[in-house]
C-alpha cells in the first residue's frame, strides 16, 4: 500500500503511550454514566445471569440438572435446523446488506443536491411498521398475490413463495429492503469522517476513483464497518417478526429461525432448554464479534 495515502489516524499506533494518555477519566464522567449502567445491569446483565442460572436447572428452577439442558439442546434436531437456517441467513444477507448499503451511500453522496430525496426514500422502509410489512408480504407473495399474478401474466407458473424454499429469499429481500437505509446512513457518517484532503492529495498524484476507493475510502471505513456489521448482525434476528406474523409459529422449514424455536419453547414452558439455547447463541455471537474485532484491529495495525 502506498504510504502517501494512509489516513493520518493510522499513525496513532506508533505513538508511544505517555502517562498523560493513561490518565483515568474524570469522576464526573462515571456519574453521568451511572444511570445508564444501572439500567444495563438491571435489565440486561442480571436477567442474562438468571438465564445462565436457569440453563442448569429444570423448567421450574427447582432442581439442578447440570449440563442436561445443553446436551438436550445440542441433540435436538429442531434446534440444529433453526441454528443452521439462522447461520445461513446471516451468511447470505449480512455481506449483501453491507455491500448494498455501501453502494447506496456512495451513490447518494455522489448525487446532486446531496441526494436528500434518495436518502429519505431509502430510509422510509425503516419507518414502516412490522405489521404493515406482514400485510404487504401477504399481498405480494401469497398464492394469488401480486407476484404470482405478474408471473402468470408473463407465462410462468405461479410460485408458492411461502410454502417452499422461496420463502428464504423473500425473507432476505425483506431484510435488505428494510435495513439498507439504516446501514446507508451509518456508512455515510463514516464517509463523512474521511478527510477530503486525502482525496485531493490522491488526485493530485493521479489516483483514479477506483484507487481512491480502494486505498482511501475502504481503509477509512474500517471502524464503521465493524459497527455497521455488528448492528446489522443483531438486526438479522429482528427479521423473525415479519416471518412470525406472516407464517406463524411453524413456518416453511427454510425460514424456521432460532427465535421461532425460542418462542415455541417459551409457550411450552421449556425454560431449561430455552435458557441453554440462549446462552449458546449468545456465546457464539460474542465469539464472532470478538473475532471480527480482532481481525479488523489486526488490519488496522497493518
Amino acid at each position: 500500500m502506498n504510504r502517501r495515502w494512509q489516513t493520518p489516524w493510522r499513525r496513532r499506533g506508533s505513538i508511544s503511550k505517555s502517562g498523560a494518555d493513561r490518565a483515568a477519566p474524570p469522576r464526573a464522567a462515571w456519574a453521568f454514566l451511572a444511570p445508564s449502567l444501572a439500567g444495563v445491569l438491571l435489565f440486561v446483565l442480571f436477567p442474562f445471569a438468571d438465564t445462565v442460572r436457569r440453563s442448569f436447572f429444570d423448567p421450574m428452577g427447582g432442581s439442578f440438572v447440570g449440563l442436561a439442558n445443553y446436551q438436550s439442546v445440542l441433540a435436538n434436531s429442531a434446534f440444529r435446523l433453526a441454528a443452521k437456517n439462522t447461520a445461513r441467513f446471516i451468511a447470505v444477507c449480512l455481506p449483501l446488506l453491507l455491500v448494498l448499503s455501501l453502494a447506496l451511500a456512495l451513490m447518494v453522496r455522489a448525487a446532486k443536491g446531496g441526494g436528500r430525496l434518495f436518502r429519505t426514500t431509502y430510509l422510509v422502509p425503516m419507518a414502516v411498521p412490522v405489521a404493515s410489512i406482514a400485510l404487504l408480504w401477504q399481498a405480494l407473495f401469497a398464492q394469488n398475490g401480486i407476484a404470482n399474478s405478474l408471473l402468470s401474466a408473463m407465462g410462468s407458473r405461479p410460485v408458492d413463495f411461502m410454502g417452499t424454499g422461496a420463502a428464504f429469499w423473500v425473507l432476505i429481500f425483506t431484510y435488505l429492503w428494510k435495513n439498507s437505509g439504516y446501514d446507508m446512513i451509518l456508512w455515510m457518517a463514516g464517509l463523512d469522517g474521511i478527510p477530503q484532503s486525502l482525496y485531493e492529495a490522491a488526485r493530485v498524484d493521479g489516483a483514479s476513483n477506483f484507487q481512491c476507493f480502494c486505498h482511501i475510502t475502504l481503509p477509512g471505513l474500517l471502524p464503521t464497518l465493524f459497527m455497521t456489521a455488528v448492528l446489522s448482525l443483531l438486526n438479522t434476528f429482528k427479521v423473525f417478526r415479519e416471518a412470525y406474523l406472516v407464517a406463524g409459529s411453524y413456518p416453511q422449514t427454510d425460514i424456521y429461525l432460532l427465535q421461532h424455536l425460542f418462542n415455541n419453547w417459551f409457550a411450552d414452558l421449556d425454560l431449561g432448554r430455552l435458557s441453554a439455547a440462549a446462552v449458546l447463541v449468545a456465546a457464539v455471537l460474542l465469539t464472532v464479534i470478538l473475532l471480527f474485532q480482532r481481525v479488523l484491529n489486526r488490519g488496522d495495525e497493518l
Binding site: A38, L41, F46, D58, M60, T253, N264
Partner: protein, 714 residues
C-alpha cells in the same frame, strides 16, 4: 472506580432483593352491594308470578297459582295473604292466563284474554269486578300490566302477530291509547314516557301521547331492565347488576354476576323490582321453583373477601360460572376472581399471546390458583411438573373414572375434566352401525346413496337415504379428526398409517357427497338462545338425520339435548365412533406454585359436584359424574313422555334406547390435539379433497408440516 462499581452493584442487588416492585396490600375497603336470599318459606317450589312494592313500602311476592306473600321488613319475614278470590277471578275471566299487578294501595288489577280483546279486572276492598274489555284483536294475550297516574292501566299484550301497548282508563275500561311496540319483557312509565325493556337487552323509549319511539339504547347482552322510582334504570344480566342514573348515560356496575345467583345452575331471571330505598329485588326461576333475592348496599361489607381464589381460563364457560356460584354458596367468605384470557368481545389477542402472558405469570410466582386447561399446552405443563398432583381428590367410583385418564401421567392425576364430548354415530335402533374403523365407515358411506347435487334437502328422503350427511369439509374433518386423534398423534409425531386412514376415509366421503370448503346449505340449521345471551347452533348432521336426509349421523355429542330431536322420528341408538375417543373439556388443574391450593382443590370439587354436573350442560359436554348423567337422561325421558302425553294423537316412538352410562364407560382414549396441529393437518387434507395432490403426497406433506412441532418437544 472499582469501589464505585462495587457500590453500584451492591445497590442494584439490594434493590432487587428488597422486592421494591411489590405493591403493599391496600387496607381493606368496605361498602358494597350484597346479595341476600329472601324467598318466602314455602315459595321455593313455586314459580314467581309477580313482584311489587306498595306505597307504604311493603313487599308483595306472587308465586304459583296463586300464593301471595307480604313483607314489611324488607323480606326478613313474610305473611301469607288470602287468595281465595283468585279462583273467582279465573272463573270470571274464563282463563287462567292472567297477568296480575298490584297498585300502590294493594288493590289487584288483572288482565286476561277475552273473546274480543283483553278483559280488565279489578279486585279491591269492595270485591272483584270486571272493568271492561279493551281494544286489541281477538286472541290477544296480556303479558304484563302496570298502573299509572289518573287510574290509567298499561297493558303489554301480544296481539295480531305483534306486541302492542294498551293504555286503558281504569274507571271506564275504555282504551285511551293503543300502539305497537317492540317485543318486550317488562316496562315502566315515567310521566309521558314509556320505557320498554326488551328480552334482547335493550331499553326502548316511547312517547305516550303519540306512541312513537323516541330513543333506544342497549343495556347489555340478555339483560333484563327495570325502571326505578327515581327514573334510574337497572339492568340485570349474567354479567351482574348495573345502574344508569335518570337522564344519564354512564353505567355503574354495582354487583358482579360471576359466582353469584345470576349464573347459578338452572337459574334464570324472572322479574326485577327496584325498591324505594335504592335496593333491588330480583325473582329467579330455579329448577322446580323460584327464588327471590335482595340486593342492597351494605356499608360494612368488605369489598374483598377474607380470601381470594383466582381462577384462570382461556375462554368463559357457563359451566365454570355455575361452579363459581356453587363454590361461593359453600364458601361465602372467599372471593372468586375469574380471569379470562379472552374477555367477552375481545378479538385482538391470539391464543399464543395470551398463553405467553400466562406463562410469564406462572414463572414469576404470580400463578393463578386454578387453571382451566382447555386451549393450553396441558401435556407440557404436566410433564414439566408445573401442576399439582390431584390424585384421590374425588371419589372416583362416583365418576366415569376412565375419563380421568385424560390428565394422568405416571399413575398420578393432574387435572379433572368437568365435561366430555364424544364423537358418536346416531342411527335408528336395530340398524347396523359401522364403527369398527374409519375406513369401514367410509366404505359403508361410499356404498350408499349420494346427496343431491344441489338444492335443500327436506323431509323424508325415503328408504334410499344417504348413510351420512355433512355440509362441508370442515364438518366432516372435525368429527373424524376428533375420533382419530388419539391414534394419530404420538410422542414421536403423526402416525402415518392413522393419517393415511383419516385422509382416505374423509376423502372418500367428501367425494361421495360432493363436499367443498363452503357450506352447501342443503339443510337449514336451528339456533337456540342460551343463558347469558349466548347462542348454540345445532350441528347440521343432526338436523339432516332428524329430517330423514340421512340414515345415520356422525357428530360430536355435546349434550344429551342434542338427541332431543331425533327421537321425534325413530328410536335412536348411539354408538361411539371408531376408536372410542372422548374430548375432555373444562379440565381443572392447580399450579404447583398456587397461593391457595386447598381452596383451589375445593373448587375442583365444586366443579365435579352433583348440582353443577347435573345442571344444564349448555352444550359444553356431557357430565363426568354418574349420578348427574343418569339424572339428565331421566330428565330427557320425562320430557319425551310429557310430549307424548300432550300429543297422544301422534304415535311417537319410545325415544332414547341407548345407555348413556355405557357410552361414557366405553370411551377409551382422550383426544387432546391442539388447534395448531389440527389446522395444519386440515390444510393438507383439503389439498387432497380438492385433488390438488394425491393421497400419498397429502400424507407426506402433513407429516412434514407437523414434523417441527414434534421435533421441538423431543
Amino acid at each position: 472506580m472499582k469501589r464505585f462499581l462495587s457500590l453500584l452493584l451492591c445497590g442494584a442487588l439490594a434493590v432487587c432483593a428488597a422486592g421494591c416492585g411489590r405493591i403493599p396490600a391496600a387496607a381493606q375497603a368496605a361498602g358494597r352491594y350484597v346479595e341476600r336470599e329472601i324467598t318466602p318459606p314455602g315459595a321455593q317450589e313455586k314459580r314467581a308470578r309477580g313482584l311489587f312494592q306498595l306505597a307504604d313500602g311493603r313487599l308483595c311476592y306472587l308465586a304459583g297459582d296463586l300464593d301471595w306473600y307480604e313483607s314489611g321488613d324488607g323480606g326478613a319475614t313474610w305473611q301469607p295473604q288470602n287468595t281465595d278470590w283468585y279462583e273467582e277471578l279465573c272463573a270470571l275471566a274464563g282463563s287462567r292466563e292472567i297477568a296480575l299487578c298490584l297498585d300502590g294501595d294493594g288493590a289487584v288489577w288483572a288482565a286476561a284474554p277475552a273473546q274480543d280483546g283483553i278483559g280488565l279486572f279489578y279486585k279491591g276492598e269492595d270485591g272483584l269486578r270486571q272493568i271492561g274489555t279493551a281494544g286489541a284483536e281477538s286472541g290477544a294475550r296480556p303479558l304484563q300490566l302496570r298502573t299509572g297516574a289518573d287510574q290509567s292501566v298499561f297493558v303489554l299484550a301480544l296481539s295480531g302477530g305483534g306486541t302492542v301497548m294498551l293504555v286503558i282508563d281504569g274507571a271506564s275500561g275504555q282504551v285511551k291509547q293503543q300502539f305497537s311496540v317492540e317485543p318486550g319483557a317488562d316496562f315502566g312509565v315515567r310521566g309521558e314516557k314509556l320505557e320498554l325493556f326488551t328480552a334482547g337487552g335493550e331499553q326502548v323509549t316511547y312517547d305516550l301521547t303519540g306512541g312513537q319511539e323516541t330513543a333506544r339504547r342497549p343495556l347489555g347482552t340478555g339483560a333484563l331492565g327495570a325502571l326505578g322510582p327515581d327514573g334510574a334504570v337497572w339492568a340485570v344480566s349474567a354479567e351482574g347488576l348495573s345502574l344508569i342514573a335518570a337522564g344519564g348515560s354512564v353505567t355503574e356496575d354495582l354487583f358482579a354476576g360471576t359466582g353469584n345467583r345470576f349464573q347459578a345452575p338452572d337459574t334464570s331471571l324472572r322479574g326485577v323490582l327496584p325498591l324505594q330505598d335504592g335496593a333491588l329485588c330480583v325473582a329467579y326461576d330455579t329448577r322446580g321453583g323460584g327464588a327471590l333475592c335482595l340486593y342492597a348496599y351494605d356499608p360494612d361489607a368488605l369489598v374483598r373477601g377474607e380470601n381470594s381464589l383466582v381462577v384462570w381460563s382461556l375462554r368463559g364457560s357457563l359451566t365454570l360460572n355455575a361452579a363459581i356460584s356453587a363454590f361461593k354458596e359453600e364458601n361465602p367468605q372467599v372471593d372468586v376472581v375469574l380471569q379470562l384470557g379472552h374477555e367477552t368481545g375481545d378479538a385482538g389477542l391470539s391464543d399464543a399471546d395470551i398463553i405467553r402472558s400466562l406463562n410469564a405469570a406462572l414463572l414469576t410466582g404470580d400463578a393463578p390458583d386454578l387453571l382451566i386447561l382447555d386451549g393450553l399446552p396441558a401435556d407440557s405443563l404436566m410433564e414439566k411438573g408445573l401442576l399439582e398432583d390431584l390424585t384421590g381428590l374425588v371419589e372416583e367410583a362416583d365418576y366415569f373414572e376412565n375419563l380421568f385418564t385424560a390428565w394422568t401421567l405416571d399413575g398420578k392425576t393432574y387435572a379433572y375434566p368437568a365435561r366430555v364430548q364424544l364423537p358418536v354415530l346416531l342411527a335408528q335402533a336395530g340398524t347396523r352401525v359401522e364403527n369398527g374403523s374409519l375406513s369401514a365407515l367410509a366404505a359403508a358411506a361410499a356404498a350408499g346413496r349420494g346427496l343431491p347435487a344441489a338444492g335443500e334437502v327436506t323431509g323424508f328422503a325415503g328408504a334410499d337415504q344417504p348413510l351420512l350427511y355433512f355440509d362441508d369439509w370442515r364438518a366432516l374433518f372435525d368429527v373424524f379428526y376428533a375420533a382419530a386423534a388419539p391414534r394419530l398423534l404420538t410422542d414421536k409425531g403423526c402416525d402415518e398409517a392413522a393419517l393415511t386412514e383419516l385422509f382416505s376415509a374423509t376423502g372418500a366421503i367428501s367425494e361421495k357427497y360432493g363436499l367443498a370448503a363452503e357450506p352447501s346449505g342443503r339443510v337449514s340449521g336451528t339456533v337456540m338462545d342460551l343463558d347469558g345471551g349466548q347462542e348454540y347452533c345445532f350441528p347440521l348432521q343432526i338436523e339432516a338425520y332428524k329430517y330423514g336426509a340421512a340414515c345415520q349421523c356422525a357428530v360430536l355429542l355435546e349434550d344429551l339435548a342434542n338427541l332431543n330431536g331425533p327421537f321425534w322420528l325413530r328410536d335412536t341408538q348411539v354408538a361411539l365412533m371408531p376408536g372410542g375417543a372422548f374430548l375432555p373439556r373444562i379440565s381443572a388443574a392447580v399450579p404447583v406454585n398456587a397461593a391457595q391450593k386447598e381452596l383451589a382443590k375445593k373448587f375442583v370439587g365444586a366443579l365435579l359436584s352433583q348440582p353443577v354436573q347435573a345442571a344444564k350442560n349448555y352444550y359444553e359436554g356431557l357430565p363426568v359424574r354418574r349420578e348427574a348423567l343418569a339424572a339428565l337422561q331421566e330428565q330427557l325421558r320425562q320430557s319425551i313422555r310429557h310430549w307424548q302425553e300432550q300429543h297422544p294423537e301422534n304415535s311417537y316412538p319410545a325415544g332414547l334406547v341407548f345407555d348413556s352410562a355405557a357410552l361414557l364407560s366405553g370411551a377409551g382414549a382422550a383426544s387432546k390435539s391442539n388447534d395448531q396441529l389440527k389446522e395444519t393437518i386440515y390444510e393438507q387434507a383439503t389439498k387432497f379433497y380438492d385433488k390438488s395432490c394425491t393421497l400419498e403426497q397429502a400424507v407426506a406433506n402433513a407429516m412434514e408440516a407437523t414434523r417441527l412441532y414434534f421435533e421441538e418437544r423431543r
